[in-house]
Symmetry: C2
Subunit: 190 residues, 2 copies
């Protein structure tokens, strides 16, 4: 069983994940995170001695892996790449709507905030996207695409997904995601 310390650490990470996804790196304060995670400051700096950056880094890594796992899971039931992209968009749109547009891409907000100013967090964001792109590319290769073509295509598909999430949250509507869903097939048939 997980020790009490591990549970506290996990609560902090989960609280950080939620708050950072909703409002970004600068918009999410440590006070809120410790409150939401029901942990005192001492525990925060015990588990994350390098402070906010380290906690947010752990939160981003966890969210990144969760989305990668989601894509992989959906990949198992998808007969082809098009069905996979549609399933991913559906799942993310549902998740977004259920959260009242407080959730979208758990990486994007921080990625944009820190792209030019925080090397360590930028790196983690870049790795998450690389990871997702790789999972997509793997499925494309299994579908018969040449590896380098699959990589480029996965990049564009990921861009379409990410952009649809940005527009959907900005407009508080799932329409951009549904439209991207309809367009995804066109990218694959080129």
């Amino acid at each position: 069983m997980a020790t009490k310390g591990e549970q506290t650490r996990a609560r902090l990470i989960n609280a950080a994940r939620t708050l950072v996804e909703e409002r970004g790196y600068f918009g999410a304060g440590l006070n809120e995170m410790t409150d939401a995670g029901k942990a005192p400051r001492g525990s925060l700096y015990h588990h994350f001695p390098r402070g906010k950056d380290q906690l947010v880094a752990a939160a981003l890594a966890a969210s990144g892996q969760e989305i990668a796992a989601l894509i992989r899971t959906l990949s198992e039931d998808a007969p082809n790449a098009r069905a996979l992209v549609e399933a991913v968009l559906d799942a993310l749109a549902d998740r977004m709507e259920e959260a009242g547009y407080a959730k979208g891409c758990p990486i994007a907000t921080v990625a944009l905030e820190v792209a030019a100013t925080n090397d360590s967090l930028q790196k983690i964001c870049a790795e998450a996207y690389d990871d997702w792109q790789g999972v997509l590319a793997d499925h494309l290769v299994a579908d018969g695409y040449a590896p380098d073509r699959a990589g480029a295509l996965a990049c564009s598909l990921l861009a379409l997904i990410e952009g649809a999430l940005v527009l959907a949250r900005a407009q508080r509507s799932r329409i951009p995601i549904d439209r991207a869903r309809e367009s995804a097939g066109a990218l694959l048939n080129a």
Copy 2:
């Protein structure tokens, strides 16, 4: 000629535009904005009595209109929709690289930060995207697409552009934008 007050106001808006695009709403402080805009706090609250929200709103509106004007300008020289999208992506990629990845989409970061929590700013972001999508759709209609088809297509093209900008900044590389450039044509031929 612009009065001194108008110049101060413009300097503040420009400073806010730069800082907000680089680090987002929460990451950009009023102290930095007044420093960069060479204006004291008194001037800030004279020109923007409702404070940060009002200044950032003005900055977002200005940036939104600038991008809309950019698309319109590029639209004049583009022989077709595909060439237009490619030109937009090229221009935005150049702009991003020149700024050392401090610039991308001037709306997206704030849009994601405030999507669920700040109605007035969310509205301004949504309007900017609507505006851009409209400009793209107009060009598509001129290219012969049916109006409703043009609207849906413009939405997906904008998603592809926005997503490419997110990935490019996150990875500090223009490759995702170049890949989106290559994929844009496929969306149009479906």
